[in-house]
Structure formats: C-alpha cells, structure tokens
Amino acid sequence: MALHEIHITINNEPEQVAVPANMTLMRMLREKLALTGTKNGCSAGECGACTVLLNGEPVNSCMVLAVECDGARIVTVEGLASEERLAPVQETILSEGGVQCGFCTPGILISAHALLQRNPNPGEDEIREALVGNLCRCTGYVRIIESVKKAARMQLPAG
C-alpha cells in the first residue's frame, strides 16, 4: 500500500510522517511517534480513551485517518503540561483522586481541558455532557466531575 507523506504539528513540534491510508491518527501517535499516552480502547469512537485535540477541538483519534491530518495541529495528553506546570485539570484530577486504573485519564483530561477552553465556568450538567464520550469503569465519575469543577475555579479570576 502506498505511503502518504504528511506534515503535522504535534504538541508544538513539527513532524513529518509517512503513513499508509488505513492508519488511524491513534495508531500513528502510538506506533509511529511513540506517544502512548493516547490509549486504544474500543477503536470505534465509543470509549474516548484515544481523545486528542485536532486543530484545537477534541476528536476520537481512532475515528480519524492520519493521512487526513496533513497540515493539522495535534495536542495529545503529553502536550497538556508545560515544562514546569501541569494543566489545571491535571492538577485537580490528582488532588481530587479522579484517577484509579488510569486508562481513561488521558482522554478525560483532553475532553475536560477542551471544555474549559470553550466554557471557563461550566455547570455540572455541562461537564457531564462534555465527558459523555469518555467512559470510566473505575471511579463512578463523581471525583472526575469534581476535578473539572475545581479546575474551573482555579482558572477563574478571583472574586
């Protein structure tokens, strides 16, 4: 099968990758770029473990072809923190105990981070709706929701 040469920006770094047409973005991240923070759960857009930001918006990377991403900006869980600091929702998922086995956590972090970018002060219903595509079989979600609420409070200007 012919390989397609694509240029992408991944976690702020330019990359050039040769991919077959049938390689999903999820597989390219894991198998070509060793960014294994992005998890493969269902390969069908159901579980959200593979959620990444594509041009700033969350997508299920198992439902995107790598070849479509030529010219795109991609952020994975590895790119959420800066050199010195975790992103707010990364801080709070730790402090609130929103992680158990951790398999869903990268996808949850990306979805929650994207929610806080488009809506800095979401209500509980909005948090639940934004995370509906991220399944967690451990926590029962309560602590995850609390993490997102706390991250929103951290980000809001005081007062």
């Binding site: 049938n22 857009g45 969350p58 995107v64 934004a130």
Partner: protein
C-alpha cells in the same frame, strides 16, 4: 476474535475540485466512496461491512465548509460543517433550534467534531438523529454529479437502510433549509438505552405551526427514527391533525396513527412491539409539547 481489528487496505484521495471528485467517483462505481467525517464509514470498514478501494475525501471542496444564514433565503449548511458548529451557531439556535437539538442528541462532543448533518443524511441509517429535523424543516440537498449540480428533495431521497437516490459520481455539497414556518415550535424526543450519547431505540421529531388553510388552524410535520427501513413520515397522522380540531383526543389519535405507520424490527436495542408502543407514547408527548408551546 481480534478485538482491535485494523482498517482494511484502501487508498485515500483528496481531489481539488468537485468536478474531479465526481469524475473519479463515477469511474469507480462500487469501489470509491465519498468520505466526510468518517464516523460511520470507518466503523463499518473496521467491522468488514464495507471494503472500498478508494476513500475520496470531499471535505473542504468548493463551499462545503460554509454555514450561511440569509434572513430571506434561509440556512445553507455545507456538507463538511460538523455538528458542533451547527450547535454553536447563534443563527441556527435562533432560527432552527430543532436542528441544534437534534445534533446535540448525537453521540459525544468529540464524535460531533467530525460528524456532519449531510453525512448523517447520506449514510441513510433509519436511526439517523438529525434526519427527522431535516425532513420537517424541508431541507433540500445540493448535489454535484457528473452532469453538474442538481437539487434533491429529502422526501424521496431515502430508498432503504443505507440506500439513497445518490449515484456513482454524486457528491452532496450542502443542505439548504427554507425559512422555518412563522410561529413554529419543534421538538426531538429520543429514546436511547441511556440519557445521552446512545443510538436511538425510537426517535420522534415533531414540528407544528399556525396554518389558516387547515381546518384545525395548525399544521404538524412528523418524522420517526428507527422504526422503518427508512426515516418515516407518518402522513396519515399529519393529515389527521390538519383536518380535526386540535384536542387532547385528536393528538392521541394522531400518535396512534404514527405508531400504525411504523414497521419496526427486533434488534439489540429494542423489540418491534416495544418500539411501536414507544412511537405512540413519544409521539403523544412530542405533539403535546409542541401544542403547549404553540398555544402557551
């Protein structure tokens, strides 16, 4: 069993013009498929139900990324406009709230970053959540074929599960909605196995508006998801409401006529008998909600 099957082999093309896309698709009937958000086609390929030799990416072709509202002409949604953009559009929410509501009922936010209304229509699943809204809002498809552009009415577009009047070489570029009827109210009631994100067991779309040419003074449009081989418009129920005074009883009778029009199947999401009963109940609820908003 391989729980993580990879996609079968195929090749990917990104034509630069609609003419080029149509020409390639028409030269490879049965082998090449137009590719939009991929949320359905990739799942069906992974599961072995589809094995195209070529995916022809038609996102970003001439005008397909446009969402445009004109207060005189209505709304044009380009084929590549994703559902999250439809939901976020202030103009859609003001003038076509039913369309935003239907989009919001689809899967999850990340899926809707990719899923498109036009893809939902072309996919022609009887369960398509946005199809009902498109039907009752009288959407018209703009299609680019080998012989140039044409328009397709949705009323005659669906032929069976996954089957439409589209032929090899056809690319749907947009859906256009006329201005909604004055004073209309609409609702989409979806019954899934959970509150959010699931496919519909039954979906009922209802739109009502004042119309002095009807005996009842009101006209209702209805569309049903997951209850027939194609998205279903229960014409008898619509006629009943146009020709009888609107009362709790006539609304109930119309809901029963809607249930009678269905030919559902048993599947993993629900039995045919359950679906028929739920069409009756959800139609009654949808019509009552619309009626309350029309008269409240």
């Amino acid at each position: 069993m391989n729980t993580h099957p990879t996609l079968p082999e195929f090749d990917y093309l990104r034509p630069r013009t609609l003419a080029e896309a149509s020409e390639f698709l028409s030269r490879h009937p049965g082998e090449a498929r137009p590719f939009m958000g991929g949320t359905d086609v990739l799942v069906r390929m992974r599961d072995g139900f589809l094995t195209p030799r070529f995916l022809v990416d038609v996102k970003g072709l001439d005008g397909t990324n446009e969402l445009r509202f004109d207060p005189r002409a209505g709304l044009t949604l380009g084929a590549a406009v994703c559902m999250n953009r439809v939901i976020a559009s202030a103009e859609v929410r003001t003038h076509y709230p039913l369309l935003a509501e239907a989009c919001r009922s689809v899967a999850s936010y990340p899926l809707r970053t990719r899923a498109t209304v036009v893809g939902n229509l072309c996919n022609a699943s009887p369960a398509g959540d946005t199809i009902g809204a498109c039907l009752v809002l009288e959407g018209v498809l703009h299609v680019h074929g080998v012989h140039g552009p044409r328009q397709e009415r949705l009323g005659s577009f669906f032929l069976g599960p996954g089957k439409t009047t589209l032929e090899a070489g056809d690319v749907v570029t947009a859906i256009h909605f006329p201005l909604p009827p004055k004073g209309c109210a609409g609702v989409y009631l979806k019954l899934g196995r959970n509150q959010l994100s699931d496919l519909s067991i039954v979906g009922v779309t209802a739109l009502g508006y004042p119309d002095s040419t009807c005996l009842s003074g009101y006209r209702f449009r209805l569309a049903m998801a997951s209850v027939a081989p194609v998205p279903l418009v229960p014409v008898e129920a619509e006629r009943h409401l146009a020709s009888h005074p609107i009362t709790p009883e006539s609304l109930r009778e119309a809901a029963q006529l809607a249930a009678d029009a269905c030919s559902p199947i048993d599947d993993v999401r629900g039995s045919a008998r359950y679906r028929r009963l739920m069409v009756r109940n959800l139609s009654a609820m949808a019509l009552a909600q619309v009626w309350n908003r029309l008269t409240g």
